[in-house]
Amino acid sequence: MPVGDLLPEIVLLLGAIVIVLTAVFTRQERQHWGAVLALVAVALSAWFAAGQWGAPSKLTFMGVWALDPAAVAAKLMILGAAAVVVALSPEWMATDRRHGEYYGLLLFAVLGAIMMAAAADTMELMLGVLLSSAASYPLAAYHRAWGPSVEAGMKYYLIAALANALLTVGVVLLFGLVGDTAYEATQATLARDADAVALIAATAFVVVGLAFKMGAFPAHVWMPDVAQGAPAPIAAFLTVVPKIGAAVALARFVTLLPPDLAWRWIIAFIAVVTMTLGNLAALRQTDVRRLLGWSSVSQSGYALMAVVVLGLTEQALPALLLFLLAYTVANLAAFAVVVHWRGRTTLDDYHGLASAQPLAATVLVVALLSLVGIPPLIGFFGKLALFSAAIDGGYAWLAVVAVANTVVSLFYYLSVIAPVVFADRKATLHELGPWARAASLTTGVLVLAFGLGAELLVGLGTVIASF
């Protein structure tokens, strides 16, 4: 067996185990060393993953595991995001009695997301989804004594249970139709013939399962609760990392479907509903973290536009990955500032923070403007790629819907920016510490640097024409 092909994943697994074992034998006040171990594991994993870049696309491990540029890009994004989340965590978790195993769970959740992105087999896909979910339930509810955190964990768990059950049904139906779980065999069999009704049902179930991980309609309702109630670093994590894995998994899955199945319309419908619903709900929020949660829902809707035109234009897959990267960096930057300001939630607490902390406030403003898509930030290039792919793929109307939604989203992003910059200060400011500050500044600089250096990313994207 080509074990070397799985080195990035194996490193994460070993890292998680080492952290859990170390945590057992370490006093609570020294458990922040788990963060260092986690960072080492993530860095090693990223090192091995980067080594896989540029190799010709192939399936490995008896055809269940895809090694292609898209998978490697998704892995690197997920690992980068994980590194930021780890950096945000030690100060936040310093007083928690179970600080140590937190990092172990985090690495398991990262592993699950990576498995989703690279799975080329429906069983493998399920395994990834379940691992990611199971590791995330306790993370969302980590503040056991705090109601909103428990509520967030509970909601996440209940919706996950339903969505994962549906996903299982879909996978089983698909197995019944095809007689195999490997993607190659599935694609070949479906192209020949398949019972249309059963196939539509299977597709619908799988799509719902992945929509849950993406935070897309119809399984999106956990997103705002988790963004608000989960520990702030975990809110950053869960709004970003599973989305990357699930979006790539969904893109991989829809390419299996025969062209006469109306899956493009299904995804387009979900995209429109997701972005519109997320934006309309975000308009009414007076809680910044909840608002970011709904914004995250709407951003899933944009990302799905690229999935709709997959196979119709070569720009689709690079656009999906570029947009996910743009979203990841900007969303992490926004949450990093929230963590740095000790996770304050209500908008009133954000009044006038720009005069007290101009640098952090600038990062927040830049991150939100990038989520709108203001040039020359990276978010602009992400949206540009999406619009371009949608128009080139013949779905210009989808781009028009996204544009309308972008205007709506500007309204609520400005409803955060305006009080931060223009209002008088109301609450006293508490900062978390140097790690969180460094993480927020780093991501903030990246939002701008990636935009100015977009050529590098767009150039890389041309390698990823298809799976």
């Binding site: 203001i374 040039p375 371009s388 500007l410």
Partner: protein, 494 residues
Amino acid sequence: MILTAALLVPLLGALVLAGAGSWRGGTVRAFATAVAVVPLILLVWAWVLFDPAGAQFQLVVEVPWVPSLGMAFLLGVDGIALSVAVMSALLFAASVVYPIDTKGRAAQYYGWLLFLEAVSLGVFLTLDLLLFYVFFDLSLVGMYFLIARWGHGTPQYSALKFFLYTLTGSLALLLAFLGLYLSHDPHTFDMRVLMEAQPLAGSAQAAGLVLLGLLVGFGIKTPLVPFHTWLPQAHVDAPGPGSAILAGVLLKMGTYGLIRIPYSMMTDTFAHYALWIAVVAVVSILYGALVALGQRDLKRRIAYTSINHMGYTVLGIAAAGALLGGDEAARTLALTGATVEMVAHGLITGSLFLIAGSFWARGEEYDLDRYGGLARRAPLLTGLTAVAAFASLGLPGLAGFVAELQIFAGTFAVWPWLAAIGLLGILITAALFLQMLQKLFFGDLPARWASFPDLRPIEWGVLGALLAAVVVIGVYPRFLLTLIEASAVLTGVR
């Protein structure tokens, strides 16, 4: 190199001021003034170097930015761009010098103003479609912060409305730009290539949709009725120099874009729909003038005359579009007139808004009915306002007349009836400005203005410089027309 420096100097100045929180207000203002004058000098120098008999685009600079997308940091000017850019640089210098209450945040205020100058000049100087969009969008960000922080009334609401409206427009533009970009093989954002190729010439439906996107985008920015509702609100609540920039520079982006993109890159389609654009323009002319006549608020009145004047510009562009392939002399006349109108309107309305800012600084009052009899108290203010108002209503010998004469002469060649209706606008404008002068400066002096101070030297100095330019263009327009005409002949012709 000159053009690059004209962008980078104010941008670097803005960056310096971003880190200059501890500087004293006077130091900041002196620094900002020094920085803001540099682009003006550089662009005047560019004007001197520009050869009207030479290539269409000159002083071209090209640095690859995102070559994978066909996007470059590409600058270059023709006479149209250069004249509007010089006017903008002059107006920015004037706005920086003009005194204003910075609410204790001088570094931030001047920083945003310089940032806005850099990106606004970028819009006029770039020859890359995507870079045009980048600058176009960034000008919204700069203006948003200027209005929201240093405005009065309900500044945050007005700034939000401005941002939302104009972002809608710019996103419509983005989709249309992508339509142009994707229809040319290989994909490119290079304006010169797209002008040459006319990529949408073969597909009527796609071209119609792209033109619609462009018209909505530029129509909101210009603004044309019915997309104008953001304008009065934003103007009234913006600080005086902010309004001057908004009217003088930002509105020009809409009409300049019309010339540069649909008019030049899809000439057939533009010519096909030119009549409809002209009708909308005439509606804007009449509507803007009539609504302005009904305003009691000084700033609102000036704001609505902007809709009226930008209507003339669009009428000129539409007439030129309809004449593509027809009467060349009339087409050049209309397009030149439209460009001169942009320059004239920038200088005149910029001055009027700066004057409105002076009124606000003295009495925090815009209601015309509460003023009166100021002629004796403030003769300088009276004189300069009168010059600006007469220029705005198109008095011969001043810049507005040169522009409007050419626009209407060009339009008469295609649609005499439309031109005749449009002329009514000038009549109404004359009435509203005369009434405004009468209300402000004649009649009885209300007791509360008994100690109304006249303009300070710095104020009349700035206004005097701007209005001197208006007079020079009015009396001796040849120096400007030579520059513009050469490019107007080439624009839109393959």
